[in-house]
Amino acid sequence: MAAFDPVLADIRFGCGLSPALAPAPDAAAFLATLTGPDDSAARHPVERFETFLTRLQEVRKYQQIRRKNRGTPEGLAARDAIRDLNKVANVAQLHWMAQRLARRVTTAAPFRERLAAFWADHFTATGKAGVMRRAGGPYVESAIRPRLAGKFEDLLIAAVTHPLMVHYLDQERSAGPNSKRAQSGDKKLGLNENLAREIMELHTLGVGGPYTQTDVRELAELLTGLTMNRTVGRQFRKDMAEPGAETVLGKRYGGGQPRFSDIEAVLRDLARHPATARHLAGKLATHFVSDSPDPALTGAIEAALLESGTDLKAGYEAMLAHPAAWSTRSPNVKRPFDFIASALRALEVPPETFLSLKPGMFRRRFHVPMVLMGHVWEKPVGPDGLPEEDSAWITPQGLAARLQWAVTVPQLLQDELPDPRAFVTQALGPRATPAVHLAAKAAESRADGIGLVLASPSFQRM
């Protein structure tokens, strides 16, 4: 029976092999890295959302000045100040992307990085205008990363009631039709079902789950009152909440004074629902193991999540303990960020080399190539996040972009590339095939040799 394999664990559940960091010897050690101190976050910090809010406050201040002084020099100065704040935030977003690459290159707790990316994608959220568009990293840092190995219900509440999610899924101005604000004739406010629908469809029960349009509507009414404000972040406003109880999946919530805890209650119930365990188990197995995972593997994860009352660590433990998690039949393809980060890790590229790049150069080396590989960083197409299917990534243009990056960029980052013949084993471990060995030997230059190893299916698959 296949069991925990330290090398495969680093490739499949971690950030790829590193010549400098030995893989964890067993599943217990691998899982233990999730609960220790978050060293890599400390070493390569990303702004927390609480700090990011001060950027929004600054913008708001200048917006008010501009509104009061239209056409005057003071108004124009405020307009320029807003433009500068946008530019600064744009550069900061690239820097946080570099920090997240750096974490993957040097971390001794690689599963944490992968889980942070997995849950960030499960709870995809982004800003829709201005400085808010740069909030993705801070949101993940504050709402998601600290809760990777706790209870799913706590992660769910933190993510879906986070100001960025509230903004992204149009909850910001959703008010109950009979709420005080709506009744007072504020025409900009009204019920919006978007967040309610995505909570059930994407975050908890799954699209095949046992809910109806009526459940969506009732949950949307229960969510009213949850809003955000660019000064304080998340807010609960009683005057926007729909009065009266709501029935979601047959259970009544609220009815008294509108309270945020009614929203927490329905989210906890949704998190603990068997359909949610099934949905999450399927997503974990698909993301980490294969596009068509063994049903026994998803069953084991599902059972562990249900029995533990949504304890995520129990779910991960069940995944790592299952033989099907170690199957080498049709393993997943790395996503663009996984690919680039694991290439830098295999090459031991010192993080300073890319952290110190000017923003334009960092964009050219990393951001744009990732776009061509199919991933626009922190600019999701929809709230369902990135596709899981390998076919979405290994397209002609996606593969062309991977190959072109692999032969071009590493040599621009490092003066001295390793010998491709030695690098084959360093990067691929036991997966090296005769064709890759041959290509590494026959390449005309070190850069081509390294690029061919990195672009090879053995390196591209997890």
């Binding site: 149009d170 101005r173 900009k188 050219r364 095939t433 026959a442 005309e444 090879s456």
Partner: protein, 411 residues
């Protein structure tokens, strides 16, 4: 060994096998067969659910003004009257010359068979799969690919999925090329050979690689080059700058135009940004402008004779609520609209069995009632453009569809 094959032989062979991954690496090269005739079909998927009522406004309906307000017809920034009943959103007004030449038309109050859950992702999956419902899971292939399978001799260049989207409507065993215009490859001839070699370890990678080399060789500059790394880097920078300079739609249209002027007959791409829950006045305008740009660029790129043989159809996963919501937008609805353009189209009209907008005529008292399956219209387009017979379309391309009477969308 694959190395002994010339690159050209390799490419020709892979063109013939397309995505059929089980094929042996030493199959005899097969020549490309003719494409299915001279007509062209371009499918644009409008992701996010376009508000058909906002794009083509039925202002002549008695219930319209109460729902959406009186349109400022005839003003510079206002909608343009089409026929006394429908008016065109201001962002589509640059297309009016096409309307008067009969090269622009609309189909209204249509939808896929998808109902009630109103999920974008399910809605788009169903739209692209072309099937009746998802209760038996999603089919792995898309309707446009199933159509292609009835032309067994086609090469990989017959159909193109363009852009960074998966475009599931072209998924399936029939050969399809996929490309993003801004991707490019520049490798030494030796590196190309070795890349083909390492990709042979994995059929999925090998197929993608073969297509990448073929397309990249055909996109205006050859792959094989002896560029130094710094030059390659400069090339990537150039790509980046050219992307900034033009709209994505214009660039995609250029690429599609170049392919369809040549041996290609079918192309599909997406335009995102239709999910207008908030401030529709701003966001719908923005997306309709992109659609306008795409259609005008396609006409320019294709040029007279090819444009005459072209049908462009834009479709979306569902429509939006007839009422404006509390945030000046619209929520997910049901019945929507299709946009048709091209010299092959019998345009200058809105094709519909109009259901009316009074509350009793709405679907669930909230959405425009779909009066016809949009697959029937797409089916008749395929029938008219490529001669595929009715029975095959109903059985295989859009299983479960009732084609019904011919809406005569084509000249």
């Amino acid at each position: 060994m694959a190395q002994d094959l010339s690159r050209r032989a390799f490419l020709t062979r892979s063109a013939a096998i397309g995505c059929s991954l089980a094929a042996s690496p030493l199959v005899t090269p097969v020549t490309l067969a003719a494409a299915p005739g001279e007509n062209r079909l371009i499918v644009i998927i409008l992701r996010g659910a376009m508000d058909g009522l906002g794009a083509v406004m039925p202002y002549g309906d008695p219930a319209w003004t109460a729902l959406r307000g009186r349109p400022a017809l005839g003003t510079e920034d206002g909608p343009a009257d089409l026929d006394g009943f429908y008016a065109l959103h201001p962002a589509l007004k640059p297309l009016l010359p096409l309307w008067s030449q009969g090269q622009l038309g609309f189909v209204h109050a249509v939808s896929t068979p998808y109902r009630d859950k109103r999920s974008h992702f399910d809605g788009q999956d169903l739209l692209e799969a072309g099937i009746t419902d998802l209760s038996h899971g999603l089919s792995r292939d898309g309707w446009l690919n199933r159509m292609l399978r009835h032309y067994p001799g086609i090469g990989t260049e017959t159909a193109y999925a363009v852009g960074r989207d998966t475009l599931k409507l072209l998924n399936g065993p029939a050969p399809v090329s996929r490309w993003t215009p801004e991707s490019d490859l520049a490798l030494s001839p030796q590196a190309i050979r070795l890349a083909e070699l390492v990709m042979q370890d994995d059929p999925v990678f090998a197929a993608a690689m073969a297509q990448a080399l073929q397309i990249a060789d055909n996109d205006g500059d050859a792959v094989a080059s002896t560029m130094a790394p710094a030059e390659m880097d400069a090339m990537m920078a150039k790509e980046l700058n050219s992307r900034r300079g033009e709209t994505g739609e214009a660039r995609i249209a250029q690429f599609v135009g170049r392919q369809l002027r040549g041996p290609s007959r079918i192309a599909a791409f997406s335009i995102n940004g239709w999910d207008t829950h908030e401030r529709q006045g701003v966001y719908l305008t923005r997306s309709l402008r992109r659609l306008t740009d795409a259609i005008l660029s396609l006409r320019e790129e294709l040029g007279g004779p090819v444009w005459q043989n072209t049908a462009v159809v834009a479709m979306t996963e569902f429509g939006r609520t007839v009422r404006i919501n509390g945030t000046q937008g619209t929520d997910h609805g049901t019945g929507g609209a299709m946009v048709l353009a091209g010299g092959a189209i019998r345009g200058g009209r809105v094709v519909t069995e109009w259901p009316g907008l009074d509350e009793a005529s709405l679907y669930n008292r909230r959405d425009l009632m779909p009066t016809r399956d949009l697959r029937a219209h797409a089916g008749w387009l395929i029938n008219g453009l490529f001669g595929l017979d009715r029975g095959t379309i109903e059985r295989d391309v859009f299983p479960g569809v009732e084609l019904g009477g011919d809406p005569r969308l084509l000249l």
